[in-house]
Every structure is written in structure tokens, then in C-alpha cells.
């Protein structure tokens, strides 16, 4: 789910992609979204611990820096905050690059652009946006799967099946598009998903933010005050340091 700084959501209420295997990286999910929905994005290698960072999504921020996107200009003016959600739950901010975040069946990935001048909320709640994934049948089907129902949001198949590609889109190879910094190519926009495009509108009320752990802060403050008082008592009684 991609939320622009203006509050607009790309292909609201969000897009769903299918993938082979049990998991996919956030970068792989973005590439699938680029293939299946034409979502534009650019990533750049940041460092060995962070991996690839997201620099541009759906042409925000506008333009391309001279020389392409790289670690030195990826966050100029703002950055794409990345979130994950499991089972439609609240968003949790990720602390790693998009190549290091792993998504599983039914997980949601959120992207919100935060200009340096302001703090933006996470994307709208992902609950109910995508159909519940159904485990694949244990025996291979001899006949092609039935045509999807008219409303793909209610479909049990998470992979958009139209138009029928030679290789199922879920099996599309995921390659890192950002190996050379700033040169991550957006794959050519494939025919749009059967999910009807929805004009970007005002964002829905955002999900309640993740609790900041006020109990932890209170406990830490209490421990710090008590230990400081004890140390001061010892130093004063013992004649100072």
C-alpha cells in the first residue's frame, strides 16, 4: 500500500500481488507490483547492513537526480517510510532496507512518503484490502483453474490471472533491480491487473499508531530516578566522588 505525502493512495485501497513460495522480500513484492500494476519505483543500494533503500515510488519525489539514485541522494528532501502488517493488523515500522524485509503469505507492505518538513502517518489500514490467501491444492490440477469471479477483491486467488502470461506471474523471477545504484529499472508496465483501478482519493482514517511503549518509558524513568538517587546518596554520605 503506497501512501503519498498528499495523502493519496496508489490504486486505492491498495494492490495485491501473488508470489511463488512462502515468502518474498519487500523489494520482490515491489517488483511484482511493478510487473502486475505498473507501479514505478526506484531503489538504491545503501550499505551492507541496510541493504537496498527505497528512493522513489510512483514518481514521488519527482524527477531523477543527476547521475541516478544512489545512497547519497536517496533521502534528499524526504524518504519513504516502510511498514509491514500481518493479518490485517496495525502497521509496524521496519528498521531495515527493502531487500532485508521478508513478507509472508497474507502480509501487507506499506509505504508512506515523509518529507523532511513533516511527519506523515502510516498508510491506511490494510485490513480487508486483499483476499485471504488460500493454500494451493495438494494435487496438481489437470485443467486450467476456473476463471476468476467478477470481483477480484472477493476472490480467493491472490494472483491476478489476466491476461494469461506464458509463465504464471506468481512465478515471475525476482531479481534485485538495484544492484547498480540508481539504475534500478522499473519493469515495463504489464497489462494492468483485473483489479479495477480506483482514482486516488482521500486516504481512509489511518490505523491507530503502534503503542510507543509508555509502560517501558515509565519503568525506565523510574529505574533511572531511583538509581540516580541511590548513587547521589552514596556519594554524599561517602564524601563525594
Amino acid at each position: 500500500m503506497v501512501r503519498h505525502a498528499s495523502g493519496a493512495v496508489y490504486d486505492a485501497p491498495g494492490v495485491c500481488v501473488g508470489f511463488a513460495g512462502g515468502s518474498v522480500t519487500m523489494e520482490g513484492a515491489l517488483q511484482l507490483a511493478a510487473q502486475q500494476y505498473g507501479l514505478e519505483y526506484r531503489a538504491a543500494y545503501y550499505n551492507s547492513s541496510m541493504g537496498d533503500e527505497l528512493c522513489q515510488v510512483d514518481n514521488e519525489p519527482r524527477g531523477t537526480p543527476q547521475g541516478g539514485w544512489s545512497a547519497s541522494n536517496c533521502f534528499n528532501g524526504g524518504y519513504w517510510a516502510t511498514y509491514t502488517s500481518t493479518g490485517g493488523g496495525p502497521w509496524a515500522a521496519t528498521g531495515e532496507g527493502i531487500s532485508n524485509v521478508t513478507l509472508h503469505d497474507g502480509d501487507a507492505a506499506g509505504f508512506a512518503y515523509e518529507p523532511n518538513s513533516s511527519r506523515e502517518p502510516p498508510p491506511p489500514s490494510p485490513a480487508g484490502v486483499c483476499p485471504t490467501p488460500v493454500p494451493p491444492p495438494t494435487t496438481p490440477a489437470a485443467t486450467p483453474p476456473p476463471a476468476p469471479p467478477p470481483s477480484p477483491r472477493a476472490s480467493s486467488a491472490p494472483v491476478p490471472p489476466s491476461p494469461p502470461p506464458a509463465v504464471p506471474q506468481a512465478l515471475a523471477p525476482i531479481t534485485s533491480p538495484s544492484a547498480p545504484a540508481g539504475s534500478s529499472p522499473t519493469p515495463p508496465a504489464a497489462p494492468r491487473s483485473p483489479f479495477p483501478p480506483v482514482a486516488a482519493g482521500p486516504a481512509r482514517p489511518s490505523a491507530p499508531p503502534t503503542p510507543p511503549g509508555s509502560t517501558g518509558y515509565a519503568a525506565a524513568a523510574a529505574a533511572a530516578v531511583l538509581m540516580s538517587a541511590l548513587a547521589a546518596f552514596r556519594l554524599l554520605r561517602g564524601g563525594g566522588a
Partner: protein, 290 residues
């Protein structure tokens, strides 16, 4: 606290410090270590210079990280690009990362200082396993040299001033450093001869007066190790996570259970032994006959 218990306490404190980059937990370790140091006269005497050194090291870490690390989304200012090494943006994230590093340095230094005041050099050598006695002896001798060198430096400087030698600037410093170096070499030779005369290295080292292990040592060491184990379990389980500083400051989450684990390190300061009325934290050192 016996040197062995102090060594285990230091091990636990360092494990917590190095397991996370969360500055809240690291600062709690600093406070716990300061309390343990303040519970003994030897620790109190060393606290002021130690904190001054920690503050200087922390300031250096913050400044160098802010100038050398150009990562981060929020640019505060910009140093001219042609300046080698430090040229580029100065970011809020790099500055905060420097604070995080400084908190780690402070926690490590104050925790290690507990070991330094837990007894004299002999107690520290006794605290290490038999196979490490030679290494322990080398470390203990090196540790003992540091204050000796400082005392020698002060004495030579005062003597030179009495003689009318101006000890100022780099030029005047050589009037002190040369005698200090020569006397340090003489001391080293004398120490080596003394060790040789006592048969160092000729066989298994014998301990004349081992610091006794008491129930309170079990409590302190066990509590510290349990605290470290609980903290690491919380960290591995994702409940006491790191703080994501780059590319932009993430939410600083604090787990109350992890706070309790850090606070457990203060146990030795709550029940200081009577022997701490002496010069060391070690009860064995105070009880040992002269």
C-alpha cells in the same frame, strides 16, 4: 564482592550493553555501574576521573560520527565537500547515532571499572582460571603500571619545578617524560627480577589468600547473569529491539521487562559488604592478613 563475582557481573553488564544499541538500556547499565562503584570508597575515589574520561570519550564519539557519517535523511548542515573525510552533509541521524555509540562506550567503561576496583592485581589474577594465570599476570601488571606511571609523572614534574625547570608545552614535557620513561624501565626490570626470584613460571601458581566466595557473591553474580540471560532472550524474541536510527529515526521502544533486567545489575550496590569500608570492593582483600 569477590573478584570472581565482579568478573561475572562485568561480563553480564557487557553482554547487555553489546546486545543492543538501545541507549535507554545502555544508560541504565551506566547508572547501575555508577551505583556499584559508589558503594565502595575505592570506587568513589575513581568515579570523578572516570566520569570525566567517559564524558570526553562520548563527546569525541558524537563529534566524529556526526562529521564522518553522512548518512541520514535529515540534513542539519553541510560541510564543504572539498574538505577530505568530513566534507558532506551533517545529519540528525548521524548525530543521534553518535549518542548511541557514546552510550555504549560509557556503559562498557563504567562496567569494566567495577572489575578494576574489585580488588588488587593479585586478586584479579586469582580470579582467572589456572590456564590463564600467565595472561592474567601480564594484564594485572599492566594495570598496576598505569597508576604507578602517573605517580612517577607527578613526582618528577614537581621535582623539576623545584629545580627551576619550566615544565610547559611540548618542549618542557621532555624534561619529565625522559626521567619517567627511564624510571619505568627500571621498575619493570626490578619487577621481573622479583618475579624471577619468587619462581614465577616454574610451576603451578599457588594462591596464598584466596578471596572467599560468599553467599552474597552467588546472589550478585547469579542475579547479573540471570539479568543478562533474560535481556538477551527478550532481545532475540524481538521484545527488546534495537533502535533504528537510519535512514530516519524510528520509534524508540522500551520494554519494561528489559528495564527490570537492567535494573537487576544494581543489586551489589544495595547490599555493600562491611569489608567495603576498606579500600577495595573485595571482601577477601580486606580480610587477608598483611
Amino acid at each position: 564482592m569477590s573478584p570472581r563475582a565482579a568478573a561475572l557481573w562485568v561480563l553480564a553488564a557487557l553482554a547487555i550493553t553489546l546486545a543492543t544499541n538501545n541507549p535507554v538500556y545502555r544508560l541504565l547499565v551506566v547508572l547501575a555501574a555508577v551505583n556499584v562503584l559508589a558503594a565502595a570508597p575505592a570506587g568513589r575515589r575513581r568515579l570523578r576521573p572516570l566520569l570525566a574520561f567517559v564524558a570526553a570519550s562520548g563527546a569525541l564519539a558524537v563529534a566524529s560520527n556526526a562529521l564522518l557519517s553522512h548518512s541520514g535523511a535529515h540534513v542539519l548542515s553541510r560541510v564543504l565537500d572539498p574538505v577530505p573525510g568530513i566534507g558532506g552533509p551533517v545529519t540528525l541521524e548521524a548525530l543521534v547515532d553518535g549518542v548511541v555509540i557514546a552510550a555504549g562506550v560509557a556503559a562498557s567503561m563504567t562496567a569494566a571499572a567495577v572489575l578494576a576496583v574489585s580488588g588488587d592485581a593479585t586478586d584479579l589474577v586469582d580470579a582467572v582460571p589456572q590456564v590463564l594465570h600467565r595472561s592474567g599476570a601480564a594484564v594485572a601488571l599492566a594495570l598496576r603500571m598505569a597508576p604507578g606511571l602517573w605517580r612517577s609523572f607527578v613526582a618528577v614534574r614537581e621535582a623539576q619545578q623545584v629545580r627551576g625547570v619550566r615544565v610547559r608545552g611540548l618542549g618542557g614535557l621532555r624534561h619529565v617524560l625522559v626521567p619517567v620513561t627511564l624510571s619505568a624501565l627500571e621498575d619493570s626490570l626490578a619487577t621481573a627480577e622479583a618475579m624471577d626470584a619468587r619462581g614465577f613460571g616454574s610451576g603451578r601458581r599457588r594462591v596464598a589468600f584466596a578471596a572467599p566466595w560468599r553467599r552474597r557473591d552467588t546472589l550478585f553474580a547469579g542475579g547479573a547473569l540471570a539479568a543478562a540471560a533474560a535481556f538477551i532472550a527478550l532481545h532475540v524474541g524481538g521484545l527488546a529491539g534495537d533502535w533504528a536510527v537510519f535512514p530516519a529515526l524510528g520509534t524508540l521502544s522500551v520494554n519494561p521487562l528489559a528495564v527490570v533486567a537492567c535494573a537487576l545489575l544494581v543489586l551489589p550496590a544495595l547490599w555493600p559488604s562491611r569489608a567495603q569500608a576498606g579500600t577495595a570492593l573485595s571482601s577477601g582483600a580486606a580480610a587477608a592478613p598483611a
